[in-house]
Symmetry: C2
Subunit: 149 residues, 2 copies
């Protein structure tokens, strides 16, 4: 009787994650639209606001995204005047990504987004940390399972 239906939608952790993730995306949209950003573009900027002048590969490793996703996204950020893509002189295989003044300035306007989202979630900060850690563990286990076999 513990079995019930393993295939029931409501029993699926993955679906809970999948649908919550999309809900997050829709919630962020209302704050990012005015900045002209999508959520993936925003997280790329989060990375650059922490450390500027890094390679596409560096960004990909932090965000778990490959160049097939990042190259066109970065081109759009460049077209929007927020970053520049510069071939590395030392190693011509690499492309270094640098914020423009305009890209750096956008950080100010994004400053309040996390707090606003935090208010919506209305969770104690230790619960948020716990969740973040658990999700990180999940991601780690899933990645390990995919890369090996």
């Amino acid at each position: 009787m513990t079995e019930k239906s393993a295939l029931a939608l409501d029993n699926q952790l993955c679906f809970a994650l999948y649908s919550a993730s999309h809900a997050f995306g829709r919630a962020y949209r209302q704050f990012l639209d005015p900045l002209g950003l999508t959520y993936p573009q925003y997280v790329v900027l989060l990375v650059l606001w922490e450390k500027d002048d890094i390679t596409v590969k560096d960004i990909g490793e932090k965000l778990f995204l490959d160049s097939g996703t990042l190259t066109p996204l970065l081109k759009r950020l460049e077209a929007g005047g927020l970053i520049r893509r510069i071939r590395d002189r030392e190693d011509e295989r690499q492309v270094r990504i640098r914020l423009t003044d305009s890209g750096r300035a956008l950080k100010e306007k994004a400053q309040d987004i996390p707090k606003t989202i935090g208010c919506i979630l209305d969770l104690p900060s230790d619960e948020v940390s716990a969740l973040r850690r658990q999700l990180g563990d999940l991601r780690g286990k899933l990645q390990a399972a995919v890369s090996k076999p």
Copy 2:
């Protein structure tokens, strides 16, 4: 000193969710590829395996997806011979989705996927339930915040 950087990637619950969700998708891929399914197609089938002969709208409400996403996805499932899309005689606006024999039969082959994923995650079932509930709460709060203002 509690503030640190609200914009730091590692402090973002949303990013933890976003990256874990993608990791899930990549993990499922190796089990769904042999069945010729994508993850979104799989969750549509989960819904139909629980209750057959429902409308596109019904599916959309369970999965939090709109017709812009579902219509082409369902057409692909129909092209693959797993479902049929039938205009409702009573209300010609609706399209009812029904599993074919082949679509029903696929349930057998999908039966072991949740357990396999469960082994990868290797979490006590009460922790999984707790996570699922917390993620459901998050989704609810985010949805409420998006629809109102």
